[in-house]
Amino acid sequence: MLKIENLHARVEGKEILKGLSLSVNAGEVHAIMGPNGAGKSTLGNVLSGRDGYEVTEGTVSYNGMDLLTMAPEARAATGVFMAFQYPVEIPGVNNTYFLRAALNAQRKTRGEKALDSMQFLKLVREKLKVMQISDELLHRAVNEGFSGGEKKRNEIFQMAVLEPKLAILDETDSGLDIDALKQVAQGVNTLRSPERAFLMITHYQRLLDYVVPDFVHVLADGRIVESGDKSLALKLEEQGYAGLAERHPAGAVA
């Protein structure tokens, strides 16, 4: 589904990704772990199409398409979703209105019929039940005045409604207490399916206690330096990223 090859990317002239390669198939859950500054968030931003990230080398192919040439909205319409680390507050834009506009814009791009407000409301009610989110959140402006946990749950709720094929979760666990973390994890687990892939970018392994990944990759200095199954995450937890530096000194090829 997603094939990243030798990806190099710069931010403000500084090279952050230095030859990252990764393959993700439908149905798989991949965790990307790594120390601060390794390039984890840059990877998420490059995949979602944010401005200011310059790809200097390498390719990203998504279901056979060249993802890097597509506008952010086109990526969304083909099923790429990014759960942001810091979701923005948008005063004056109602959460429900926003979500319906997003879903219908995606459907229009895909040549599907728009959902009317009744159909949309029905869909939202179903998803609310699964996500255990109070519908009071829906009547508020997008993320405005939401707590940290509410913002992250709202991201997962949006994902549930938009039903992407590839979901990228950027530090979705950061800043959450254990109850909120469990709720978010449960939401993600509910959405796991053979057609959907997840890329979970995280600093800590605690999210992985609740969303068990099929693969764990270690990102350091702009590259994947080690890959394995969930036991790799536990090893990292024990040894820390410092142990990693010993195994993979800067400049060495993974």
Partner: protein, 435 residues
């Protein structure tokens, strides 16, 4: 330098015969104001209040003051329909009262509503204070020519303690004419002690020709009176519209204004509010959205003159294409107006590189224990918000429209008439660059 001799606009207006009322004080006031207009001509950029609004191009045009067709020209009544506004209605076409488009039957008790032309034919004395005024400031050209030339307008009175719930609808239409046309309207509005009034003022038009229109409104709120005033300025883009609204609030009076400046070519609104009675309260919300080559200038001046008076103003500007917006928010807390609380915010959005908005906050405080907050910004749409919407699949143009509408909606939120609020919200969205 003012050079009346070189201003065809001034010459053409001076050529027009003054209306004659047969009322000595009124004819005298008209003469005096005309003389002042002839002497000073139009203000130029050296007059501070006209610094950002140049009249050079307009000054080169000639306007006819005579429109014999105005009483008959066809106007589509549907064009003035507003949701949630179904009360009494007064309609003026090119400055001329049109009874057949108006709705004056069955006025609620306590409401007096008639065209100025009729009021002057009866007992004109109650209008003397308003209509015999002289305008002395260097920038008063349009108020002067209005005082000299207005033949018609609205005379509205609400008796003490009367509550007029259904909105009174005042409509000013710029309609087709044979020539470029100048017309003037004068409103005198008075809300009695403890009375309540809901007012909707609407400006619309249908393209050609070029109009020069002036509207001067004097609004007096007596003790404890309450006014809800909504203004929808959606004039044709060939109309040059100069308005002055002067509000005078006595003790504990409350005025709530919502102003939507959408249409017009060159538009200027002088909104002057004097809080003269203890505990008077003013609440203003406004949005101006010039696009194309429009120029929309709002001059809000609030004077706190009594104890514990409060004002709260939130204005938004959105300029697109090569349009220009101007906003001046001037608050004066006069000596003795202790305990006053004044709040003013003006945020502006530029949607294109050729657009411009000049905003100028001014605050002068001469009293004690005053709370005052004041802020103005000019910026672009937030890139992070735009990206967030796009990352969810909303195309760039639509994302911009959604965020711009949200920016403007801040001025709509507290409009109590829900149907009207929805109607205006839709109009705002339609005004935005197409998605």
């Amino acid at each position: 330098m003012s050079q009346p001799a070189s201003q065809p606009l001034v010459d053409s207006l001076l050529d027009a015969p003054l209306p004659r009322s047969g009322i000595a004080w009124l004819d005298d006031a008209r003469q005096q104001n005309l003389k002042a207009f002839a002497t000073s001509g139009l203000p130029d950029a050296r007059v501070e209040a006209w610094k950002y609004t140049a009249l050079r191009a307009l000054a080169q045009r000639r306007f006819s003051a005579v429109d014999v067709a105005a009483p008959q020209v066809a106007v589509d009544a549907a064009s003035m329909a507003l949701l949630g506004v179904d009360g009494p209605r007064l309609v003026f076409v090119n400055g001329v009262f049109r009874a057949e488009l108006s709705e004056l039957a069955g006025l609620p008790e306590g409401l007096t509503l008639q065209p100025l032309s009729q009021a002057l034919a009866g007992d004109a004395e109650p209008l003397r204070f308003s209509l015999s005024r002289h305008y002395r400031e260097p920038g008063d050209a349009f108020a002067r020519i209005n005082a000299a030339s207005a033949r018609d307008g609205v005379v509205l009175r609400v008796a003490a303690n009367a509550k007029i719930a259904r909105p009174v609808h005042l409509v000013f239409v710029a309609a087709a004419a044979e020539v470029d046309l100048a017309w003037h309207a004068r409103n005198v509005i008075e809300v009695g002690n403890g009375a309540e009034l809901n007012l909707v003022e609407q400006h619309l038009g249908s393209g050609e020709p070029v109009h020069l229109a002036t509207l001067v409104s004097d609004i007096e709120l007596h003790e404890g009176a309450r006014l809800q005033h909504t203004v929808l300025q959606n004039a044709a883009t060939s109309t040059n519209l100069f308005r002055r609204s002067s509000l005078h609030l006595q003790a504990r009076a409350e005025a709530t204004l919502h102003v939507f400046e959408l249409g017009g070519a060159l538009v200027r609104h002088d909104l002057r509010v004097e809080l003269v009675g203890d505990g008077a309260h003013l609440h203003t919300r406004g949005v101006f959205m010039p696009h194309g080559r429009q120029h929309i200038d709002t001059q809000l001046a609030i004077r706190h003159q009594a104890l514990n008076t409060t004002s709260d103003s939130t204005w938004r500007g959105v300029a697109n294409d090569r349009a220009r917006g101007v906003f001046r928010g001037a608050i004066v807390v006069a000596p003795g107006a202790d305990g006053s609380d004044a709040n003013l915010s003006n945020k502006n959005l530029l949607l294109s590189p050729g657009a411009e908005i000049d905003t100028k906050p001014e605050l002068e405080i001469y009293a004690d224990e005053v709370k005052a907050a004041h802020g103005a910004t000019v910026g672009q749409l937030d890139e992070r918000s735009l990206f967030y919407l796009r990352s969810r699949g909303i195309p760039l143009a639509e994302a911009r429209a959604v965020l711009t509408a949200a920016f403007c909606r801040a001025v709509l939120g507290d409009l109590p008439n829900e149907a009207l609020r929805e109607h205006l919200s839709t109009l705002l969205v339609e005004q935005l660059p197409s998605t």
